[in-house]
Symmetry: C2
Subunit: 445 residues, 2 copies
């Protein structure tokens, strides 16, 4: 429909890699775009684990969505949470009761962590999806060392200095590696009573090997590098229970200060909203042009979509897939509105994937090349730096990284909002006669 | 007592400018030092307003206390909150019940904001003392614009875009100026429905002029510069009430999204702990060597102390006073322990004071010179940069500042933990026939 008389409205749900890229492509088109997101920022999720481990500040890896899209006068950004879609009325329902009309809808609401039916574990395990998640992990991690420094019960000190990471994918490997490094380098010199480098970091993987998306040789290399950093890598270790004081995993009880859940994600509940067919992970099954079967005005992209790649397997839940789908749907909508030849079905260009292990090692598959070690790490660093959303982020991340790299120091190591439990522990009076150190009483209560 | 057989223990309460500097001077001395602070970081408070207004990230102006004092093996840092002192037993009581022995005690617990007996106002007014305070102000400030963007009630939009700063001292002037700038530059281009540059910023001062510590000419200049930035400066405006929706001030009602309290501080309650004589602001009256009368082993420094200067007036509650007193008491303790000539009474070297107004203006009194305008701002910037605690902070602050200066952009503009009320507002269904914009219903409920 070229040169249509009415100006259609495109509503985009989610300001992640999919949503922001779809919006950018539609910038300047004869169309009104409304981007809706729960937060006010676009997040560079691949580096979120560095915020959780105090290497980067939140503002290094996130940018205000408004600022990103400021240049496009036809794009409006609103902060709000979508809770449903009325596909017949062509309206999105927001949490606060508002309804948003659309002519075209792009659903890019991403995924959350899934506890395989054990939602009660969510109370005790930390996940890493949002900036708030990352700041909570950071806070719990640093507080555990602070508590351990003031504790004299040997078993409790061991628990406070034990960190269990569940899931041996890239995120789990990255978290376990950086926590090990944090305790063995940055924190090692800061405490007087405890030895942070004796911290016990356990990476549990239910499958046979970690980094199962990589080659077996890369998995072995990754596990060896993690072990060198001091991480206990346990494969074939299925989680049976997660509670406030630890986990039951692989037939063993591990008392831990912190349980980090990096095992298995599920698409956010757009399939129910759209009454659509969902894949095993909850993703919405879409047509090759990312549209919903029977609803040509609705598109679903990124982690919340399920689409098979050229090899017949579902496309992975990765940032590049979301980004490419966002650009694709943006272009498709432009041709629908402005006229011109519509593009063919979506095709994913797979440039590869990477996982970083500690300070200067990585495994990567890039443009068909298998890489590992420092070269892979260098490739990883450069690519991530280039992908960061604006120049300023790049510059300050570079400063922070270089500084951390050369000094093993972590500038962002701040506890804002200390977890309440740090003050609630009951500590017994100091026994002046026996010791001049702080003694801490029955911490198991 | 030179070459004493026992190794005395010095407990320092508070890791602000006073506490950290006292600890540093005692680093390496034949003495065990324990630094106790509620947080894990030393904060460069003079720049806190820039975190509140999203110009800097928390890690730009704070450093882990452990990391700062890492080099001194005789210094131990613990995170905990002092709640009392048992001066007869020579013990500090912590919130969690622990007691810490001391041979010498340095109290440097700082000050809080005082509501002149109206503690109920504290629920509705924001103060700016800690990183958490700053992040809450930032969150409330940015959320108000987000809510206004989705609102159609004209009176409510006006309320959401009204910010009242109470207290015309340097902090109030700095906050009002930067909020005005934020709304008139950075945010101005980001919204589609509201015009952030129509935000209403009111600075209320009960006295006759703002910046009363400066010369009348500097006060006039400061007020003129603030007005040029769009701040409504109201002097002789006494606050009568603060509630959830605004303030009664100077006989007028101002409905506001945010009330910032920068009027009057009071020393933290060390005077009660020590059963000591306190000054009008609650500060502990100390002897000219900063020790407590009758308790030569207890020293009180910084905002929590009250000591008259050479001119007979109490020393101001400023960072340089705390820093110099910290260094002084550190040296005094070293001579007590190691021997040598004890220093004379504490003398404050007054290098001056400054207040910054917006992006490139300031008033300053430096080394007896009265400065204003860009020269004062340049002096302010250089001095603050030099005073920042470690090299890395200096470098990233420099990058952030330069970037913000040249682009009017604010990198740290992130809403983590959105205030709950942003989701609780009830919004009425969109009236499709009348408008395609989001409508927001009865927001006064």
């Amino acid at each position: 429909m070229p040169a249509s008389r009415f100006r259609p409205r495109v509503v985009i749900l989610g300001a992640g890699f999919g949503g922001v890229n779809a919006a950018k492509v539609l910038g300047g088109a004869p169309v009104d775009v409304v981007v809706v997101d729960r937060t006010n920022h676009h997040l560079f999720q691949p580096l979120l684990y560095q915020v959780a481990t105090a290497a980067l500040a939140p503002s290094d890896i996130a940018a205000a969505t408004r600022a990103l899209l400021r240049g496009y006068k036809n794009i409006k950004v609103i902060m709000g949470e979508a809770v449903g879609v009325d596909a017949d009325a062509r309206q999105v329902c927001l949490r606060d009761g508002a309804r948003l009309d659309y002519d075209f809808l792009v659903v890019a609401t991403g995924s959350s962590y899934s506890f395989f039916g054990h939602d009660e574990w969510a109370r005790h395990a930390h996940v890493l999806k949002t900036l708030d998640d990352a700041l909570e992990i950071r806070s719990a991690l640093l507080s555990a060392f602070e508590l351990a420094e003031r504790c004299t019960d040997v078993a409790e000190i061991r628990r406070l200095m034990t960190f269990v990471v569940i899931g041996g994918g890239p995120t789990g490997v990255e978290l376990a590696g950086t926590i090990a490094e944090l305790s063995r380098t940055t924190l090692a010199r800061d405490f007087r009573t405890i030895a942070p480098d004796s911290a016990h970091i356990v990476l549990c993987e239910a499958g046979e090997r970690i980094l199962s998306a990589f080659t077996p040789e890369q998995s072995r290399y990754g596990a060896a590098m993690l072990r060198r950093l001091g991480v206990h890598v346990r494969t074939g270790a299925m989680v049976r229970a997660v509670d406030a004081r630890g986990v039951d995993v692989g037939g063993e009880r591990i008392e831990a200060a912190l349980v980090l859940w990096c095992a298995g994600t599920a698409a956010n509940p757009a399939a129910q909203w759209l009454r659509a067919v969902s894949a095993k992970n909850g993703g919405v099954r879409v047509k090759p042009d990312c549209s919903l079967p029977g609803r040509p005005e609705i598109f679903v992209i990124g982690d919340v979509a399920s689409l098979d790649g050229a090899d017949g397997n579902p496309l992975p839940a990765l940032a590049p897939v979301a980004k490419q789908q966002g650009c694709y749907v943006g272009k498709l909508l432009r041709t629908k509105i402005e006229g011109g030849a519509e593009p063919g079905p979506f095709r994913y260009r797979d440039y590869g994937m990477m996982a970083i292990i500690g300070r200067s090692r990585a495994v990567a598959m890039l443009f068909g090349l298998r890489m590992r070690g420092f070269a892979a790490w260098l490739a990883w660093s450069l690519i991530h730096l280039m992908l960061l959303v604006d120049f300023r982020s790049r510059l300050t991340v570079y400063v922070n990284w270089s500084w951390a790299w050369f000094t093993y120091g972590r500038g962002a190591r701040l506890l804002t909002r200390a977890p309440r439990w740090i003050e609630q522990r009951r500590v017994q009076p100091e026994d002046r006669a026996s010791t001049r150190e702080l003694t801490q009483g029955d911490m198991t209560k």
